[in-house]
């Protein structure tokens, strides 16, 4: 009856729900998305080239600013890669504290994700609740290293400072508070009819296809693939921790939500174990004053809250900065899947899907 042409709709780089400066050009047939073209690069700061002219120690500051919601994880991945190149042994106490920081960071990142994802879909209250708990984590980090967002909290070989006195009690107290509050989020969302309508069956991707398209982290685990760097290639103190990997079944947005909620519970479990079993000892290993790894290249992966973050670093053995510094950003590789996820859905689902992939543009663009 009516002749409907395809409509090209631009979700411009300035948009309240794209989690940063992301541009998605949608090709619509009525309300349904036929195709999507994701345009990135608005936050590209040339981190990789910049790090080629910075000292090995200075680069820790730069890694903070890639995934700025999970700085400690970026720091940890970088420091571990250089420690691998230098063949430095990190003392056990430092590894435990690093695990605690990484898991607190995972909680902070998932709280931000939960708040912003729910707010994009319309549940504004969850944002306030989640950020209220995240404030407690930021207070813990501020006590540890002095910063609330970009921590610079790790050094090559260990940590810059030991934990402050009474910090361990505060961490355990925070764990108790969070375990009380998580049911509040569940009450608001998990069996909410509107939430189920907006997220069930949206962006379904089966397991093998998720692997092929490069997804990692919670989106991959929600499709049923038991892949977690903490279990497969343990780093820091994860080989001494007991925890489970939550898996989804259908691979839709609702499963990704459940997987991340359960990951928060498992993170609390890890923090409690590490805090209670914290060994005594030095906080930094034997590292030369001038850091100059021998010539070689290596790739080392960590499990960031967004997925697998990998560092590929090439050292030429002579300079005081890396020859090549490459980060494999999980948000970049997960965002690749957006056109595939969005096909056939409504415009409103595009917002839900951008939120469920959990991107941070600082990491996508570097």
């Amino acid at each position: 009856m009516f002749d409907t042409d395809e409509l090209v709709l631009n979700m411009g780089p300035q948009h309240p729900a794209t989690h940063g400066v992301l541009r998605v050009v949608l090709k619509l047939d009525g309300e349904r998305v036929v195709d999507a073209d994701v345009v990135i690069g608005y936050l590209h700061r040339g981190v990789e080239k910049l790090c080629e002219s910075r000292d090995w120690t200075q680069i820790v500051l730069i890694t903070d600013r890639m995934d700025y919601v999970a700085s400690a994880t970026n720091n940890l991945g970088y420091c571990e890669t250089v420690e691998k190149l230098l063949a430095v042994e990190v003392p056990r106490r430092a590894r435990y504290v690093r695990t605690i920081l990484a898991e607190l960071q995972r909680l902070a990142s998932h709280l931000v994700w939960l708040g912003s994802h729910a707010m994009d879909i319309g549940a504004v209250t969850v944002f306030l609740y989640a950020l209220r708990e995240r404030e407690l984590i930021l207070d813990l980090f501020e006590e540890f290293c002095g910063a609330r967002l970009t921590y610079n909290s790790m050094r090559i070989g260990g940590l810059p400072l030991d934990v402050p006195s009474a910090w361990d009690k505060k961490v355990l107290q925070f764990c108790n508070v969070l375990m009380q509050k998580l049911p509040e989020y569940e009450v608001l969302l998990t069996h909410n009819r509107i939430w189920l309508e907006r997220t069930r069956g949206v962006g379904v991707i089966p397991g093998p296809e998720a692997i092929a398209v490069g997804l990692s982290g919670p989106p991959l685990r929600a499709s049923g693939i038991p892949r977690d760097v903490r279990k497969d290639e343990p780093y820091a103190a994860y080989d001494e921790m007991q925890f489970d990997i939550p898996l989804g079944t259908r691979g839709d947005t609702y499963d990704r939500y459940l997987v991340r909620l359960e990951e928060m519970r498992q993170s609390v479990r890890i923090v409690r174990q590490a805090m209670e079993g914290l060994p005594e000892g030095p906080i930094v290993g034997k590292v030369p004053r001038l850091i100059k790894p021998p010539a070689g290249e290596t790739y080392h992966a960590n499990e960031s809250p967004k997925g697998e973050i990998g560092y590929f670093i090439v050292s030429d053995g002579k300079a005081t900065s890396p020859y090549r510094f490459r980060v494999r950003p999980p948000s970049f590789c997960n965002l690749q899947a957006l056109p595939r996820l969005v096909r056939g859905h409504l415009v409103a689902d595009v917002i839900a899907l951008i939120g469920t992939i959990d991107i941070v543009l600082g990491e996508v663009d570097r």
């Binding site: 990135i40 690069g41 590209h44 040339g46 990789e48 080239k49 910049l50 002219s53 571990e80 420690e83 691998k84 190149l85 063949a87 430095v88 042994e89 990190v90 093998p208 692997i211 092929a212 398209v213 490069g214 990692s216 693939i225 892949r227 497969d232 290639e233 343990p234 780093y235 080989d239 021998p294 010539a295 070689g296 290249e297 290596t298 790739y299 080392h300 992966a301 697998e308 990998g310 590929f312 090439v314 030429d316 053995g317 002579k318 020859y323 090549r324 490459r326 494999r328 970049f332 590789c333 965002l335 690749q336 663009d365 570097r366």
Partner: protein
């Protein structure tokens, strides 16, 4: 792999002073560097006592005449292959039951300007979710070479190859959508190359704000004329 933090016995070449310029690592056929030349890529061969995993054995058996070079450093295996054999090798590593590398972690490149004819080292980091092992493929490419794209084997390489194209200028033959991804579409130059300045092309480094104002006034006057 539990031994990621400790290397196996380090290859003898790396312990030599001024390690990277050692000619022993450069395979025969590449130009030999001058005495104080810029660095060359380190590709240490596996030490004699390194235990070869099954997928390496299967790889060597399947490609006996491809001139594969193996490298081993800090617990990671790398296989260096020529451009023409890359598609076959990629397909083999994806499908072979001993390997099953289904997850393409990373596709990246390193620029070695000292190696004039094949300046780029393309690195493909692969992981197997079923077997839980890793391997890296390394390919040497020149500026003008068209590298076969591996997106037909691992769709995850799509954006990763676009970024290598954007940053280094390496063209991928058979890529479904090869265009710039991080830089603007009409950008000239490839930023991650070693001969590209950190401040960007043609940026004037002015001494003071007054100079900047003077420059802007001059530009405006010339536009009025």
């Amino acid at each position: 792999m539990a031994d990621q933090n400790k290397p196996e016995s380090p290859p003898p070449d790396a312990a030599a002073p001024g390690g990277a310029a050692g000619a022993a690592k450069v395979p025969a056929g590449s130009p030999k560097p001058a005495a104080a030349a810029p660095p060359l890529p380190p590709d240490p061969p596996p030490p004699a006592d390194a235990e070869q995993p099954a997928f390496v054995g299967a790889l060597l058996a399947a490609f006996p005449d491809a001139g594969l070079q193996l490298s081993y450093w800090l617990g990671d295996w790398t296989v260096i292959v020529g451009l023409d054999r890359l598609p076959a090798l990629a397909r083999f590593l994806h499908d072979d039951p001993e390997s099953l590398f289904d997850f393409c972690s990373d596709v990246t490149a390193t620029d070695w300007p000292a190696r004039a004819s094949l300046r780029f080292d393309l690195v493909y980091c692969l992981y197997s979710t079923t077997r839980r092992h890793r391997i890296r493929i390394k390919v040497r490419a020149g500026e003008q070479d068209g590298v076969p794209s591996v997106t037909s084997v691992w769709p995850a390489a799509n954006w990763l190859e676009r970024e290598v194209f954007d940053m280094f200028g390496v063209r991928f033959a058979g890529h479904p959508d090869l265009r710039r991804i991080l830089m603007p579409e009409d950008w000239q130059g490839h930023p991650q190359r070693k001969d590209y300045p950190l401040e960007g092309p043609g940026e004037l480094i002015l001494e003071s704000p007054q100079e900047w104002l003077r420059l802007r006034q001059a530009v405006e006057e010339s536009e009025i004329e």
